[in-house]
């Protein structure tokens, strides 16, 4: 499939909202397939509201969107990597290590000789997180392009490295943010602006930015072209290596943004932090209609996919019609059903 960066970008919708209008020239059938995940999400929400009236409350909706933010933001970055034909298995461990590094650095500042105020320390922590994410991303990208190692292996290796370093930093236990700092930092997760929690705003911004970059810029077209056919992209004078490194860099920064929102939630990092986030992020991307083989993808599909995955968990928690032992089976059935709805795009 040729890259078709002509999907009209609309307002970022982080919930069951209006579907982007079908762009001119896109066949109706393709549009239906593209809307598959959204239709599934709407159906799931109706089912949720019928099973438990509390599901359809604003508070519950905000809970779900806020907890989706971590995976959702990472999944937006993951969309770029997967569209370009790559994969990143390390994101969960990377998030955990960045969280740990932030906490260690901020605690060191707080207990240092001349502790600055809480705000500068938090800003320093955030800057460190973004820097770490960017460096890790670039390292992945360079190993994949210049090192010519399969991305699966590169990121499987770094998955182990990141988590091991965190476990070592925390001595196997938990790294906990200084109490006063945690208090000062917690609004970043718990505070709302205009009735919408900050993580949801950030998620919306990242999704909007991702949509624009993937569909509206030359770089986005290059990424899609590389995933479609790397050889042809090279012949078309696209700087393939540079574009690929940039996808990993983008993902690294997305992981860092997610971590910046994650740390104020519990104020701690443990060796279980971010466990299996990579699978959830990849599942969100694929459920959202991006092929694992790369080439084409939609950021908004990924957003819907991420919300879908957490809505399933939320509905299962709000009801007790089946044995808790069967919950993962329900998740599996829904994921396969959604994938079926938007199948055979290639």
């Amino acid at each position: 499939m040729q890259p078709t960066p002509n999907t009209r970008s609309t307002e970022p919708t982080t919930g069951p909202g209006p579907q982007p209008a079908p762009a001119a020239g896109l066949p109706a059938l393709a549009w239906l397939r593209a809307a598959g995940p959204l239709i599934a999400l709407v159906l799931l929400c109706i089912a949720g509201a019928l099973l438990n009236p509390d599901f359809a409350t604003v508070d519950n909706l905000m809970n779900v969107l806020t907890r989706t933010a971590f995976i959702g933001i990472i999944a937006v970055g993951m969309t770029f990597v997967i569209v370009s034909g790559g994969i990143d298995l390390s994101v969960g461990s990377m998030a955990a290590l960045i969280a740990g590094a932030m906490i260690v650095a901020m605690n060191a500042l707080a207990t240092g000789a001349n502790p600055p105020g809480a705000a500068p320390m938090i800003v320093a922590g955030i800057a460190l997180a973004l820097a770490c994410g960017a460096v890790f991303g670039i390292a992945h990208g360079l190993l994949v392009t210049h090192g010519r190692i399969e991305p699966f292996i590169v990121t499987l290796g770094s998955l182990g490295i990141f988590r091991a370093v965190l476990t070592w930093l925390s001595d196997g236990g938990a790294l906990t943010l200084d109490f006063n700092l945690a208090e000062a930092y917690s609004p970043v997760y718990y505070q709302s602006v205009l009735g919408i929690p900050i993580p949801v705003w950030v998620f919306a911004l990242v999704a909007f930015g991702g949509t624009v970059i993937l569909n509206r810029t030359a770089y986005g077209q290059h990424v899609q072209a590389i995933g479609s056919n790397e050889q042809v992209a090279r012949y078309a004078a696209i700087r393939v290596d540079r574009a690929k490194v940039l996808t990993y860099l983008l993902l690294g920064v997305c992981v860092a943004i997610a971590t910046v929102l994650y740390v104020p939630r519990l104020g701690s990092a443990t060796p279980t932090t971010g466990i299996l986030w990579e699978l959830e992020a990849i599942a969100a991307v694929v459920v959202g209609g991006t092929s694992l083989r790369g080439g084409a993808g939609r950021v908004m599909g990924t957003v819907v996919g991420a919300i879908l995955l957490s809505v399933i968990g939320n509905i299962l928690n709000l009801t007790s019609i089946i044995s808790v032992h069967l919950n993962p089976a329900v998740q599996g059935v829904v994921i396969i059903a959604v994938a079926y709805l938007q199948r055979s795009r290639r």
């Binding site: 476990t167 930093l169 938990a174 701690s268 060796p271 279980t272 939320n314 928690n317």
Partner: protein, 332 residues
Amino acid sequence: MTVFIEKGNSMRFSNTLPARIALACALAAGLGTSHAAAPANVTLGVAIPTATHGFTGGIVWWANQAKKELEAANPGLKVIVKTAASTPEQANQVQDLLVVNKMNALVILPLESASLTQPVSQVKNKGVYVTVVDRGLTNPAAQNAYVAGDNSAFGRLPAEYLARRLGGKGNIVVLRGMPSTIDNERVNAFNAEIKKYPGIKVLDAKYGNWNRDDAFKVTQDYLTRFKGIDAVWAADDDMAIGVLKAIEQAKRTDIKEVFGGAGAKFAVKKVMDGDRLVQADVSYSPKFIYDAIKMTANARLKGEALPARTIIPSVLITRDNARQFYFPESPY
């Protein structure tokens, strides 16, 4: 990260836990003979899980603590600690400990009961003295001694406590760990005890995977779903952290108690400090690996055997006795 160990830690061990009299006696006897003439050479292999969460982090720390203290006290003793992330890895380590390190005693916390029974049984047949900790093997003949925490008290004590605390009447929500025999044993004991109080209703029990983040989500959804909750049995101190944050976020004031479990240092600290929601805990300390290593080493140095079964009691921790369960240097 370097951990600085307070001097005299081994002395503190023997007098801080009155509940563990049997253990303390065994240890005191062991300390008494540690400077006896020409101790036998003992190479003790220790096979434990890698630190994947707070509790196993504690296991690794306490095992190394025991190694440090024992090797300093007994020149003829060598303790080799191996951590494994998977069952096959642990089985290989057990083999290596025998073939490469020539161990003659093994303390093992099996990652899984069934699949490690055979490898352990093989080394026992070659004359290695085997102490199994926490998770029993499927064939008890594969072990010389078994040391474990009390999982049924881990469930029963919180049920008793919460029933008393709520005056025999109220709604409780439960978080479970991961689907496993340990979790079943605890939850069954909790349910059996709570059934004695007809005024207490368990609204639901969902898995939080012994993980702070999952517990946070499950609790958020409990709070959405149930408007009146009197107490939460979080069944684990790590999960209790997520529970407390979710309650704080929802600004709910109906909940009177959040009961964790295992006696992690931050939870014991809350009990000591008189937290509004965390007023009690139940001990299930990773320190049992330390006890098991010390008991095995000291018994083997004297050529003695351990009792076939040692159950380290789970004790209710309240403000009165919390100080005895507070180990600030341990990561857990």
